[in-house]
Amino acid sequence: MGYGRIANEKAAGATVGIGKGRSVLTATSAADLPISTAAARPPRRLAAPLWVLALLLLLTFLVIYPLLMLVFGALSDSNPVIDGFGKFKPSAKHFLEVLGNENVHLAFLNALAACGGGTILAVVIGLAFSWIVVRTNTPFRGFIAGASLIPLFVPPLVAGVAWGILGSPKTGLLNTALKWMNIDFRFNFYSMSGLIIVFGMYYAPYVYMFTASALKNMDPSLEEASEVAGASAFTTIFTVTFPLIAPAILAGSLLSFVVMLGIYGVPAALGAPANINVLTTYIFQLTAWSPPLYNTAAAVAILLMVVTAILVWAQQRILSGRSFATVAGKAFRPRSLNLGKWRWFTFSLAMTYLMIVVVLPTLALVIAAFRKFMFFKDFDALFDMRQYSWAHFNSVFDNPLTMLSIWNTLKVGVITAVIGGVLAFAIGYTVFRTQVAGRKSIDLLSTVPVAIPGLVVGVAYLWAWIGLPGGLYGTIWILALAFVARFIPDTVKALSTSFLQIHKELEEAAWICGRGLLGTIRTVVLPLARPGVVASMTLLFVLAIRELGSSLFLYTSDTTVMAVLLLDYYEGGNTGKTAAFSLVQTAILAVLLSFTTWLSRETTQSARFN
């Protein structure tokens, strides 16, 4: 995997929070033992190369072909569908233009500043959280662990809109409250620091996911040794604990940085009023101006991809050749620090974070959704009940597109989760459990999409797939395929931890007992990896429901999805309807997540009994 294999081994259960509890660890007490080097020999000789070839072809269709279209677009003046490949006149014009354009430079620097600052904040928050949850006796840790992942499920546009309502310098609710309290301080979230804070808060869960599992899997004897040697608990944290999980911190921060780099909604809502452009908002503008400048957008997108690729490569460089093995073959229990009275301090710290990240923005959305107009003369006007009604919800549900988009979104979500889940399982198994030739290429190809921003992916897929014979274009399936391709890296990564945790000897035992490869997968690997499979399919489902960029070019009147409709409401300039629809979307997500949490508990139970 692109994020570093060691990191993934450490990140045993990066998916823990996504509705599967701690059960992965039950099945995997031998986790993090070095992967057995014994080759997985499929029973038939020809099967392996054919299988690899099939996977490679599929990935080429899903990833490389659209990517080529993008490069083609960036390197010429033409639209590959309209002008055809025959008229391809390569020119570096757009590239040179982009490289020399000072607005691109500025957008680039802004993106680095916003995402860099956001990542640092995310590391601080994520690390603090994982430490509180895993290593201390803070009360209600389970609840904190679950709730701290909520920001992951909030669509970026919704987060941006909510923080605009709260933190606008002129009309923000926070500032109205401050004025009422006669406090002179004013928040301004329409600024670079606003962007950094919102990024940091919302993408901390990425760091948390990686570091929490690393902390969980770390043998506490090293820390004990440090303390026996006379170091204080505080010194131990910073000289032993955190350095030992450095790969997980690095992997988590890199992932959050890359994800932030590709986010459109937050900088669109918070950066635009202050005239702060980042690369994604710049790309969106290039495609939205008339006439649209897609070739330039493609060139900017490729710039974005290069940055991401360098980061991924750098991370692997740093990690390769260093051993971070902290887990020996003996069993251990992660120790938890008795904080005494201080545990209520850590508890209140966690609650404050949840208050700021979950409660406040939700409250802002609820107010916006129920209030006729978002104009407040003063703080007291907030409590004028005559201003509140169901009007926005009524008009949202009056719109026939609303129900259609919900229904379509659910369909696309399910199709994406099933196809993507199966594909990710196939890729994950091939890459992590076998030694077949070509698995490295599969790994590489399945990591590439992480670097492509969604908006541009949409154009690339449109260019790539519209010309295909058959009725793919204009159906739900083209959306689902685009989502599968776009989220392969996330799904495979979520699944990989489950694979890495299942010791090879379990499979070998099955072979010795005479099971074939498929039989082994069915009776041993799949049941053991099931919680991971459910978790990664849930993740895929959530990502598919949130996805806007690639939907925008592929939907048709019959296949409208919720994210597109949400943008319609936002662009239509109606905060009330945008907020109301956001709440509807949130409610649907909440119901689905509780369902899959329940489902994964069920499967975990059955996995244990099998």
């Binding site: 309209i82 009309t171 939205a288 104009f375 407040f376 260019w463 070019f553 662009e571 239509g572």
Partner: protein, 342 residues
């Protein structure tokens, strides 16, 4: 609320008085066309206008022709054009009717569209037409809007928007490169209000917005106090009781006639024609003026928006040749003057 009731009731009465079958045939097309359209029973409508607005238009159309189902695809102007081009190139253009605000971009795609003229073709202003294939089913006009709860001394003319009393990001503007509508406004400002109008206004410090709808929302919330806005964007909010008002300035109202057409590849050409005929008819235009805050390109408007005095208000339509030729260099200057980074 009262205001809305009056307009709607008056309009409803007008419709029911006029809605006789024979009259309908002449107005919207021959008996054969209506029968053929109803047989097709559906059409796909691509629009760059707001989805919610167009939903209202479709609803109203269906009151008269309930047998023709309209499915809509809405995308921002530039993205819609890309989609049309790409779909057409792949032979998969799904649109039966295209409704687009940018006459320049549509003109480039003229070959994709079939010959069409509505029954009341002669009633339209010639300067609103750029091609015999395209018709202004929608016409929008620029007004000056302000937040009534904040602004004590509201502007009355375009020139007022350069007054020092509105200094310090009180005024919001949609950036000129946003699209055909904003380019029309910027062109009007420079050609009619003076070469130095942009400079004088920019010196006040202007809050810039990427498009009109978020700006109208910002005006209602009080983020900005005053903003030139397309009247239809703020009109529905005023009707709903938002703390806002909009005026038509005496120096002129820049209008944007859309370019709407029927692609050659339309699968439901009769339904498409009927839908176009209805939207372009007096009834369709009157509905859009009364209910949606549109203007019209009809020489003899069937209705006027509130506060529009036909004796005072002059309509300003850009010269299409200059609209095309001046666009790039002037927008570049606009960006520089207002400090907008493109």
């Amino acid at each position: 609320m009262m205001r809305r009731m009056t307009i709607v009731t008056a309009f409803g009465m007008a419709v029911s008085l006029a809605g006789l079958p024979v009259w309908a045939q002449n107005e919207f097309g021959s008996k054969e066309l209506i029968a053929a359209a109803e047989k097709e029973g559906q059409l796909t409508y691509y629009t760059a206008n707001f989805a919610e607005t167009e939903q209202e238009v479709i609803k109203e159309f269906n009151k008269r022709f309930p047998k023709v189902k309209v499915s809509m695809v809405r995308a921002p102007g530039g993205q819609l054009i890309t989609r049309i081009k790409t779909e057409a190139a792949a032979g998969k253009l799904a649109a039966d009717v295209v409704d687009h605000s940018d006459r320049g971009l549509m003109k480039e795609l003229e070959d994709l569209f079939q010959d069409y003229a509505p029954p009341n073709a002669a009633d339209y202003r010639p300067d609103a037409l750029v091609s015999p294939k395209f018709w202004p089913g929608v016409t929008l006009g620029w007004a000056i809007a302000y937040n009534t709860a904040i602004v004590k001394n509201p502007p009355k003319t375009w020139m007022d928007l350069t007054k020092p009393e509105y200094k310090g990001k009180l005024i919001g503007q949609v950036v000129a490169p946003s699209g055909g509508t904003t380019w029309t406004r910027s062109m009007f400002e420079r050609q009619v209000l003076g070469e130095d109008y942009w400079k004088k206004q920019a010196e006040l410090g202007i809050a810039l917005y990427p498009s009109g709808a978020p700006l109208s929302d910002a005006l209602v919330r009080g983020e900005v106090s005053i903003a030139p806005l397309l009247y239809n964007i703020i009109y529905t909010k005023i009707v709903d009781g938002a703390p806002a008002e909009a005026i038509f300035a005496p120096e002129g109202v820049p209008i944007i006639p859309y370019a709407d057409g029927i692609p050659k590849t339309a699968k439901n050409p009769n339904a498409a024609k009927l839908f176009m005929n209805w939207r372009l008819s007096k009834e369709g235009q009157a509905f859009q003026i009364a209910k949606l805050g549109n203007i019209t390109s009809l020489k003899d408007p069937p209705a006027f928006p509130k506060g529009w005095d036909p004796k005072v208000v002059k309509v300003w339509v850009p010269n299409f040749e200059q609209f095309e030729k001046l666009r790039t260099p002037w927008i570049e200057e606009w960006n520089k003057t207002y400090g907008y980074r493109q």
